[in-house]
């Protein structure tokens, strides 16, 4: 039936076209547009957790999903009956509280009392949305606690959890700007010549003093605070390349000049701590062969678009291991051991680059850090090498560069496992075909942390990470004498 086939195709084309037109018309009428994630979101900081709520733009007004707003704060049971929206919210240890709204109406009820919205409640795809401007008040009523809402920046603080910072300029040579925080922070750090930008997504950082602080200093010219799109930023400007280092378990961030030899860029590894000899003397005298030193290089795995494992939908492995790496660095420093990070921000580095940079830095020990949501406890790995094709001498074959160091790597792994054991953390040591371990020309271990006991969120808890970091640092310190120092 060629004719009827052609006709029906034509009919479909016409109906499809008109339906599309109609659909386009409908969307225009109500003006509902979903925004791309990240661009338009509310960040909520509560004593239990920090999270973001995607916002919906309706008739030019931002709206927040009621379930997305309340679910992380307690248990939520929402029901829709026609245009009626009914939600029961139960705060931790409390009784269920009722919230009622009607789609397309601005009047509702919260805990039995009348509640007027500044704009109509929206029902869309089985979800209820309320104007962003009332989220703070509603949460305050439901949790019976103070809230603070930074409307323009789209940040909502529940309880008195705002985290303040201090700025302290030390006019040493080079100058250092100390950013102090009352509890540990883990911002992402972007550097470009003359500028270091710290972006805080999860921390409730607020400013108490002036938002712009100028300095009359040869290196550091100013620091400014800003907040927007659900995040806070501290921007430090200067006259030369600068770098950021963490100290005091993440409570202090030190901004200072980057060594001239290692310009800080987004792509390059974070600069290593200076060799112990003459750190304050940058004079360009002819170089003596540097003395051997003991440097640990920590490699927080993944980064950038490579998020590693999704520990939870909002917790990528790359963030967990960066936080852990900073803790390990700090714990090593406490034991008098200098350590550098292969990345100190959210940047992508290929596996081959990791090995190349590590071998160029000539560390006494390489530690790769991973995190996973399968299994339990901590696994310490040394390299499982591919079948050896050893060259006579001199150059190490790339694929089996680790072969010459396997015994030392095994000693470190055993020592770290013993420290984990003494802290009663479930652990195991194994060989693994993990890249780029086989390419590392130095003693090398990898540590993969899994949640301590089933609860996946625990993997990012300060207490757990601190225990793991202390175990690693103590394990390294215990075998330090066995590991040769290396000339840079």
């Amino acid at each position: 039936m060629p004719l009827s086939g052609r006709r029906s195709r034509l009919a479909w084309a016409i109906t499809a076209g008109s339906a599309l037109l109609f659909a386009a018309l409908l969307t225009r009428q109500t003006g509902v547009h979903a925004q791309s994630p990240g661009q338009n979101q509310l960040t909520v900081y509560s004593p239990r957790t920090s999270y973001s709520v995607p916002l919906l733009e309706v008739n030019g007004q931002p709206y927040a999903g009621l379930v997305e707003l309340l679910e992380p704060l307690g248990s939520v049971d929402a029901r829709i009956d026609g245009k009626k929206y009914k939600l029961h919210f139960t705060p931790p240890g409390g009784r269920p509280l009722e919230v009622q709204f009607t789609g397309g109406k601005d009047k509702g009820k919260v805990r039995g009392n009348g509640y007027k919205l500044p704009a109509n409640f929206i029902l869309q795809n089985g979800r209820g949305y309320l104007p962003l401007s009332v989220t703070s008040d509603l949460v305050s009523k439901l949790l019976a606690t103070d809230t603070e809402f930074h409307a323009a920046a789209r940040r909502l603080f529940i309880g008195n959890i705002q985290l303040r910072y201090t700025l302290e300029l030390h006019k040493d040579n080079p100058s250092r700007l100390l950013l102090g925080f009352s509890s540990p922070v883990n911002p992402s750090i972007a550097t470009e010549p003359g500028r270091v930008r710290l972006t805080f997504r999860r921390e409730p950082i607020v400013s108490t003093g002036p938002e712009n602080v100028p300095y009359s200093d040869p290196l550091i010219s100013g620091a400014s605070f800003s907040e927007h799109d659900g995040l806070a930023e501290l921007d430090v400007t200067g006259t030369a390349p600068m770098m950021a280092n963490f100290a005091d378990g993440g409570r202090t961030i030190i901004i200072t000049g980057a060594p001239a030899a290692a310009p800080v860029t987004q792509e390059a590894p974070a600069p290593l701590p200076p060799a112990p000899a003459n750190p304050q003397n940058p004079s360009p005298q002819p170089r003596q062969p540097a003395a051997p030193r003991f440097l640990v290089l920590i490699d927080p795995a993944h980064g950038g678009s490579d998020i590693g494992a999704a520990i939870t939908p909002s917790l990528p492995e790359k963030d967990v291991v960066l936080a852990l790496a900073r803790r390990v660095q700090h714990e090593l420093a406490n034991r008098g051991i200098a350590a550098g990070l292969l990345r100190n921000s959210d940047v992508a580095i290929t596996l081959d680059q990791r090995a190349t940079w590590t071998n160029a830095a000539r560390p006494a020990l390489y530690i790769a850090l991973h995190a996973a949501n399968t299994g339990q406890g901590v696994h310490v790995f040394t390299a499982m090498l591919p079948a050896a094709n050893l060259s006579p001498q001199g150059f190490l074959p790339w694929d089996t560069a680790q072969a010459a160091f396997l015994d030392l790597s095994g000693s470190v792994a055993g020592s770290v496992a013993a420290e984990l054991e003494s802290r009663k953390l479930p652990n195991a040591t194994l060989l693994a075909p993990l890249r780029p371990m086989n390419n590392i020309a130095a003693p090398a271990i990898a540590v993969e942390i899994a949640p301590p006991a089933g609860n996946v969120d625990e993997i990012a808890s300060a207490a757990y990470q601190e225990q793991v970091a202390q175990s690693i640092a103590a394990g390294v310190a215990a075998v330090r004498a066995k590991l040769p120092e290396v000339r840079p």
Binding site: S18, H370, H379, P386, A428, P433
Partner: protein, 196 residues
Amino acid sequence: MTRRVLVMFAVLAAIAVGLGFYALHLKRKVARDEQLAAEQQRALAPLSNGPPTTVTLYIASDSDGTLRRTQVNVTLPPERTERDRAVLRALFEQYLPSSSPHPIGAGADVRDVYLLGDDTAVVDTNAAFADAHPSGVLAEELTVASIVVTLNANDSKIGRVKILVNGQERETLAGHADLRRFYEASNIGQVVKDMQ
């Protein structure tokens, strides 16, 4: 709005609803067809007539990071590489349910197994095997080890195994385990002992 516009709106609305139903119908049909095709493919490839053979599988467990030796009955085709493939498919069968002790992501399959010489097997997996595999050092190592040891247990001449994804070499399985190398069954065997 004029009467004419209202009528047009009503007609268009009716068409949109009708089209929606048709789209739903099409979507269901496509899903049904795909499922049928997958089932047919599964049924066709590994099975042949003949008595079931007992094969040995080394099944990984994420919770304690071990491989457990298990035996199952599978009807094996006569040809050696087809047999190796059927053994690996029986292994994947254990991993596909989300309730598995070591789930490896939906749709994972072995496209082909071929031999280099007498002792080296090249296992060509499909894209879903790597793309949907859980990311992690231990999780990926367990998968690789269970493939290598299971192959060796059922075809003892296989001493080396290389894993391809969709006919191509990959750098890693899901960010961790090296897939550029050949795995030695003896080497992995030692690791499996360490795991137990």
